[in-house]
């Protein structure tokens, strides 16, 4: 960089305008570095750092593998993203699910399909009863709209099975 600033083209002129080339070079360097940062942001955006992408779509399972949650790790305030819950249980039985933690603080549930057999509030948040099919599989699709800002730690638990913990981040 030293020989670059020594080039006569880059010496400050006093006429017809007062120049400060040292400052101007800093401005140009800022523009240059800034350009790389913009491209970096674009690439991270494509990868899903700002929601919807490889980095954001996550899959969490309970230790025994019976409960699975597919969710977006990164959300944006005001936008909606899906969350899929799958439980494996005894065929044709009703499965109990506890949705708790900060999920209900940070998100509002816009849709819930299929409608649970029963629903009630619980100390931790919300308790649902789902109808399992002949293979013992029950699935619940939620659409979440990010209302809060920052980190939200949630957990979903099926009684008699281990729980799934996951963390989501909502951008402004």
């Amino acid at each position: 960089m030293k020989d670059e600033t020594d080039h006569p083209d880059l010496h400050s002129r006093q006429f017809p305008v007062q120049e400060d080339m040292a400052f101007q070079l800093k401005v140009w360097r800022f523009e240059h570095i800034g350009w790389y940062l913009l491209v970096l942001c674009m690439l991270l955006g494509l990868l899903g750092l700002f929601s919807r992408g490889v980095l954001s779509s996550q899959d969490a399972r309970s230790d025994d593998g019976k409960l699975q949650v597919e969710y977006e790790m990164f959300h944006r305030n005001g936008s909606t993203n899906p969350l899929k819950l799958s439980v494996h249980a005894t065929p044709e039985a009703t499965v109990e699910l506890d949705i708790g933690g900060e999920l209900l603080d940070g998100f509002s549930i816009e849709t819930m399909q299929p409608a649970p057999v029963r629903m009630r509030s619980s100390a931790q948040g919300m308790r649902l009863w789902l109808q399992a099919d002949a293979q013992g599989q029950a699935t619940l699709y939620l659409t979440l709209r990010g209302d809060g800002l920052g980190l939200f730690r949630s957990r979903i638990r099926a009684p008699g099975s281990s729980e799934v913990r996951f963390t989501q981040f909502i951008y402004p």
Binding site: L10, P16, Q24, G34
Partner: protein, 151 residues
């Protein structure tokens, strides 16, 4: 509260982004630049207002934007350092008929840009007829003609 914060964040973010883009980027508006500017405006508008289309929100956002703008112009008046930081400085790119290539490269300009400005503002045909060409703070290129007896 959030409308003020939204406006503040958007103002600062746009200021930094357009600083990165450089003073030349939108100085000479081509048709495409104009369209680009409108798209940027469209994208900004959503983030500024959110899902609140009330008069109060619009007023708050506009008041904040104008207040910051006036605030910055007051700051610029007080301190030449801030003024330089925000508005930049003019830079000479042609001196006595000679292009300063290093500067052009940094400013992402080519000779054709300088000659275009020279033709449209001064009716100049060759680079030798230019005494000085200067990128002004607003990104426009101003051209000073060589004196006939001097050149």
């Amino acid at each position: 509260m959030d409308s003020v914060l939204r406006a503040l964040a958007m103002y600062l973010a746009l200021m930094v982004l357009f600083k990165i883009a450089g003073r030349r980027s939108l100085a000479e508006l081509t048709t495409f630049d104009f369209v680009l500017l409108m798209i940027i405006g469209e994208a900004t508008q959503q983030a500024l207002l959110g899902d609140d289309f009330s008069l109060t929100n619009a007023f708050l956002v506009i008041i904040t934007l104008i207040a910051i703008d006036v605030g910055f112009s007051l700051l610029k008046q007080r301190s030449s350092w801030i003024s330089r930081l925000i508005d930049g400085e003019p830079t000479i790119i042609v001196e006595n008929g000679k292009l300063l290539h290093r500067r052009l490269r940094h400013a992402r300009l080519v000779e054709a840009d300088v000659m275009e400005a020279a033709r449209s503002s001064q009716g100049i045909e060759t680079i030798e007829q230019i005494k000085f060409a200067i990128i002004e703070r607003n990104g426009k290129i101003s051209v000073i003609r060589q004196d006939p007896e001097g050149g």
